[in-house]
């Protein structure tokens, strides 16, 4: 009945191997970088000595050394990115044109399936709802809160409270909210939401079973987590507005309302865009919440969770890959927009 610590030993052993590997790889790399150039330097020196002794022309200093260094510095990263991201991404694209077992080419059939199967169309619509609502509401809440607590006495505590859910896993957050949505047929309610409904004279509901309400309730979880992120970034942007601009506006006698729309909003526009874009990307990839809260049942599935189901539960590699590629296509424009924005900001 008791927990046996000895049984856990292999894990610690494995962790130790991992740490040893880390020391060997990184230490070895740095050592190599130190030793090899020193050796080249010595050899060059020797060459110089013999060259000057024999009166031959001095060997030209090679400028390739820099490139060699760069190669070594970049080697692990490039290797891992190639093996872990580039090649797999290409392979997934190819797999999306193949059948379930990845043996025969089927052309665009997987994509056709995606847009014709009713349940998958439902998934696409759900994703759209997520991606519209989450960035909008989370940013809205974050902005309102950032403005409200700006320069308040309890600011740091107040901000920590909203920011805290950022540290909680999506799984943990989903359980927290599942508890809020909990339902009991008879007797007292144990879920907060149903208790509120009951005390207002309503009937308790099985919140997570009712489509399309359940999707909205899952979105609440995501908003709850992400509003803190929006708040922190926007709050920093608000604090970065130069004091003299605010002062000048105040001397001109603008109302707080005007101040907000004409000074604050334009000043924090770049930060606002970054927040919305980041939240959009995060929302497109949302998986944990849906899986933990409803497992994608009752019409709540989104692209990322459906991709998992198809590829890893139903063994439909082709269809799963097609969903992954579609997700990729959706993310591209958003990221390009962000890159352009960052560059403008940098130049401006």
């Amino acid at each position: 009945m008791e927990f046996d610590f000895a049984e856990e030993q292999p894990k610690f052993l494995m962790l130790m191997y991992g740490l040893i590997a880390f020391v060997v790889v990184v230490g070895g790399l740095l050592l190599l970088l130190d030793v090899v150039p020193a050796w080249f330097a010595r050899r060059r020196e020797a060459q110089l000595v013999t060259a000057s002794a024999s009166g031959a022309p001095l060997p030209r200093r090679r400028s390739k050394g820099e490139g060699l260094f760069a190669l070594f510095f970049l080697l692990p990263t490039l290797l891992l990115l190639t093996v872990g991201l580039v090649v797999p991404a290409i392979r997934t694209t190819l797999l999306s044109f193949m059948d379930a077992g990845s043996t025969n080419w089927v052309g665009l059939r997987n994509y056709g399936w995606m847009f014709s199967d009713d349940s998958i169309v439902r998934v696409l619509i759900n994703t759209l709802v997520w991606v519209v609502l989450v960035p909008l509401i989370a940013t809205g809440f974050g902005l309102i809160y950032a403005v409200l607590v700006d320069k308040a006495r309890f600011e740091s505590v107040a901000k920590s409270l909203i920011f805290l859910p950022m540290a909680i896993s999506f799984v943990g957050a989903s359980i927290i909210w599942k508890f809020v949505y909990a339902y009991r047929g008879e007797g007292d309610q144990i879920g907060l939401l149903n208790q509120i409904v009951v005390s207002l004279g309503g009937e308790p509901k099985q919140w997570l079973l009712e489509s399309p309400l359940n999707t909205l309730l899952l979105i609440v979880i995501m908003v709850w987590i992400q509003a803190g992120f929006a708040m922190v970034v926007l709050s920093a942007a608000i604090k970065a507005i130069p004091g003299d601009i605010v002062e000048a506006a105040r001397l001109d006698g603008v109302s707080p309302w005007q101040m907000f729309w004409q000074i604050t909003m334009p000043s924090i526009r770049p930060a606002l865009i970054v927040v919305v874009v980041t939240l959009t990307i995060a929302t497109l990839k949302v998986f944990d919440i849906v899986r933990t809260a409803t497992n994608g049942n009752y019409d709540t599935s989104v692209i990322a969770s459906e991709m998992y189901n198809q590829a890893f539960r139903y063994g439909q590699n082709g269809q799963g890959s097609a969903l992954a590629v579609f997700l990729f296509i959706l993310v591209i424009p958003v990221v390009i927009y962000q890159i352009r924005n960052l560059r403008q900001q940098r130049e401006g």
Partner: protein, 322 residues
């Protein structure tokens, strides 16, 4: 949300200097009161779900299942039995979370260290070593953030299970990992997926270091590895901390990567996988779910609260300009 909007504007008024008239002063105080009130209401709403879960996790099983957690204020009954059971219980239904907790730890530590080291090396090279195609390489690595990790899952799993063969020649044998060894797969996957963002974030910091410092060191005959170790590393410690916290929270809280690369057993699966499973199969065992959720939350919360400063700095560097 719409009802709260007017108070936004009102709230900004407390930055005003003290109005000269009495009426103005009273109005200002009232307005900042509304702002304060609204912000407190939001903060409370935001905290209540977590608070409710914490209270519940400390209540006896019968109480949790029959009455709301708010009744604990009028009828306080607390116990640590739930935690005891969910952490150390040996029956398969109890959770056995202590074991999964160790898995989370074993997965997280190397998954944070590896990308940190590799990315800082790469970021240094991209920022301070001159070579052809440097900018293109940086943009390429940055752009890899586009690839959602969902796209890499199927082939990467195949890579581990069957290795790499090119035209019949085995370039890389299958890993054939069992039980605890599967940690290596998870480390590998997390490291790969973290690199684009890590390089981007650390590059932001490293490229802003003063160039004179590097120049002076170069003139003194220092090589790049030496500069990297003795000058750059100490200077970018805050950035390393920022990314370290990011990566820690992301790995500790991750479900998808672990689900696919760790296997489901208590030899390798982290807390999140186990919790998600419990939420699915034992959705009504609230005494275990609430305590379990708190076990998984507590470490990131501690890290987050104690290192919040670095985390915020990293967040701002990653999303907004420097």
């Amino acid at each position: 949300m719409t009802t709260a909007t007017p108070t936004v504007a009102v709230g900004t008024q407390k930055t005003d200097g003290t109005p000269s008239t009495t009426a103005g002063r009273v109005r200002k105080r009232l307005n900042s009161r509304t702002a304060t009130l609204v912000s407190i209401v939001i903060a409370v709403v935001w905290t209540i779900p977590t608070f409710g879960l914490l209270i519940s996790s400390l209540r006896p099983e019968d109480e949790i299942k029959t009455t709301g957690w708010w009744t604990a204020f009028t009828n306080p009954q607390f116990t640590l039995e739930n935690y005891q059971q969910v952490l150390f219980g040996r029956s398969s239904s109890s959770g056995q979370l202590a074991s999964y907790f160790i898995n989370s730890l074993a997965i997280t530590v190397p998954s944070v260290l590896f990308p940190l080291a590799f990315a800082s090396l790469a970021a240094y090279a991209l920022a301070w070593i001159k070579f052809r195609g440097r900018d293109w390489l940086y943009i390429a690595i940055f752009a890899l953030q586009i690839v959602p990790l969902q796209m890499a899952l199927v082939p990467l799993l195949k890579f581990f299970s069957t290795g790499v063969t090119l035209g019949g020649v085995t370039l890389m044998p299958a890993w054939d990992l069992v039980d605890e060894q599967k940690f290596a797969q998870v480390w590998f996957a997390h490291t790969c997926f973290a690199l684009p963002f890590a390089v981007f974030l650390l590059h932001n910091f490293i490229s802003q270091l003063p160039g004179d410092l590097m120049e002076a060191a170069r003139v003194d005959g220092a090589t790049h590895p030496k500069i990297f170790r003795t000058i750059v590393l100490p200077l970018i410690t805050p950035a390393l901390a920022a990314f370290g916290i990011f990566q820690f929270l992301w790995v500790w809280n991750d479900l998808l990567v672990a689900l696919i690369f760790a296997g489901g057993g208590n030899e390798t699966a982290p807390l999140t996988v186990r919790l998600a499973e419990m939420a699915g199969t034992r959705g009504n065992e609230w005494q275990r779910l609430t305590a379990g959720a708190f076990v998984s939350i507590v470490v990131p919360l501690i890290v987050f609260l104690s290192l919040q400063r670095f985390f915020v700095r990293g967040l701002l560097a990653g999303s907004v300009k420097g």
